[in-house]
Amino acid sequence: MDISPVFFYSFAAVAIAFSGMVVLKKSPIASALSLVIVFFCFGGLYAMLDAHLVAALQILVYAGAIMVLFIFVIMLLNIDAPSLDTMRAGRLGRFMIIALSIGLLSLFIWAFKETTPPASVGAFTPQRIQEAGGNTRVLSELLFSEYILPFELTSVLLLGAIVGAVAIAKRRST
């Protein structure tokens, strides 16, 4: 008895429904909370692909840390619906946005219809990963051997961003 399609479709449906809520909700916090639920559904989808590490990181980093900070900032700045109204795009801008979104959507549909999944499977099949000691081990070994330079460069970039943020905050307060 394979029930994974049930889970897949329910996760997908909830994700799409709440993505809609992110756009349609008036209150910014309600949008942000809907986005959390979307992230959670993505985590579920990753977990169903047996990518437990990615699922855990998705929830830990996106839903658990980044969105909390988002909500934190929204709460502190106290953005409400009327102040957002002044930021509305004009008629031309709105037309452009709608046209671009439709174009992007049709591009995606076209891409999914025209391309076929690759016939050959990459080096990491589920069996290979099991033999090598699970997702986490394989990923961390790759990160700390082959991809050590990009990995460290990314962290330096993040460090730079943090230092920059602190510098800007300090300069404004004096």
Binding site: A30, A55, A56, I59, A65, V68, I71, T136
Partner: protein, 361 residues
């Protein structure tokens, strides 16, 4: 999955779910009774022996009360908030191993509901969602005290989550796995022998600093005293659950106690050997002289009992600390989290690295 797996999973879920649900009433009694005894009072002692059944009328009271939704709240999130905070401990407990494996009919059963190979990352990930229940409650209540409480709690949880994750890294490095079942199994090995004493390779003996950091952050993550600023009844009335009453409030209370249970289970399985039997249990098992399936069942029962005892000790520890320490001031809390715990946990990782390099583990 076939019928055998379904039945095994259902049994495991029952074994976990029933105690987890009864944690709140039992702990409410322990908390009231314990605090009373520490303050030279008697506490609830009328209903049942030692007042043990006190929670039943309490529960009836919670259910019987009117359940109003105030007019000024955001209804959807207001109702969702207690559920969101209740789901988290249920989810997290699924990956905590409460006994080792046993073999029935050639099939191996691991006593852990979800045998994920990301183990503790899952707990951290889902545990970090606990803050949403509080944020939603605080924000949707449209009340300044509730909002202040939820702001405090979210900043507190973000700050302490970092140190919590980093302090567990030490354990992960020492046992070189993130799989909770394997961590628990690895703690059965002997660390050293001091005369008649055999010291097992429990997490606390190889990561004492990591244990202290983890314990402290566990208190902060469960919003228990001395880190209960989100509630802070003397300054915020009741904090994030100010606008809640009746069963919705009871759900918050259950979530708090179940979070305590999860944190205790986590501490027990990372630092106190998880289901590894307590000293003396092995000899009892030898004396019984069982074999075959009966032996396996008794062994698993003993392991589950050991885990339960460890868990109960830490649950009691939570209560004990609550009635001993006063609350932190907010700036002290932040200073402590960022300036003390974070550097300490980084130092712990460094020390662990050095020790692994020289093969002291």
């Amino acid at each position: 999955m076939d019928t055998f797996d379904w039945v095994a999973t259902a049994v495991k879920i029952l074994i976990v779910l029933v105690p987890l649900l009864s944690v709140a009433p039992v702990m409410a009694w322990v908390e009231r009774r314990g605090s009373a005894l520490m303050q030279n009072r008697k506490g609830p002692n009328r209903i049942g022996p030692l007042g043990l059944l006190q929670s039943i009328p309490d529960a009836i009271k919670f259910m019987g009360k009117e359940d109003p939704i105030p007019g000024h709240v955001e209804k959807f999130y207001y109702v969702l908030a207690p559920l969101a905070s209740l789901i988290v401990p249920f989810l997290t407990f699924a990956v905590i191993p409460f006994a080792s494996s046993m073999t029935i009919d050639g099939r191996v059963i691991n006593f852990q509901i979800a045998d994920l190979n990301v183990g503790f990352l899952f707990i951290l990930a889902v545990g970090s969602l606990g803050v949403y229940g509080i944020i939603m409650a605080g924000w949707s209540s449209n009340n300044k005290y509730a909002l202040l409480g939820s702001l405090r709690s979210s900043s507190q949880m973000i700050s302490y989550e970092l140190s919590m994750g980093l302090s567990v890294i030490g354990i992960v490095m020492a046992f070189s796995t993130v799989h909770l079942g394997e961590i628990a199994r690895a703690q059965g090995e002997v660390l050293m022998t001091l005369g008649p004493l055999t010291i097992p390779k429990w997490g606390i003996f190889i990561q004492p600093l990591g244990f202290l950091i983890f314990l402290t952050t566990a208190f902060a993550e469960t919003n228990r005293l001395p880190f209960d600023l989100p509630e802070g009844e003397s300054e915020l009335v009741a904090g994030y659950h100010l606008e809640y009453g009746s069963m919705k409030f009871a759900l918050f209370m259950m979530a708090e106690y179940m979070n305590m249970a999860v944190a205790s289970g986590f501490i027990a399985s990372l630092y106190f050997g998880g289901w590894q039997m307590l000293p003396g249990m092995h000899s009892v098992l030898d004396v019984l002289g069982l074999s075959g399936l009966t032996f396996d069942i008794v062994r698993v029962a003993f392991e589950a009992l050991s885990f339960l005892l460890k868990l109960c000790f830490f649950m009691w520890f939570f209560v004990w600390v609550r009635w001993t320490l006063p609350r932190f001031r907010y700036d002290q809390l932040m200073d402590f989290g960022w300036k003390v715990l974070l550097p300490l946990s980084l130092a712990n990782i460094f020390i662990t690295g050095v020790m692994i390099y020289y093969r002291w583990y």
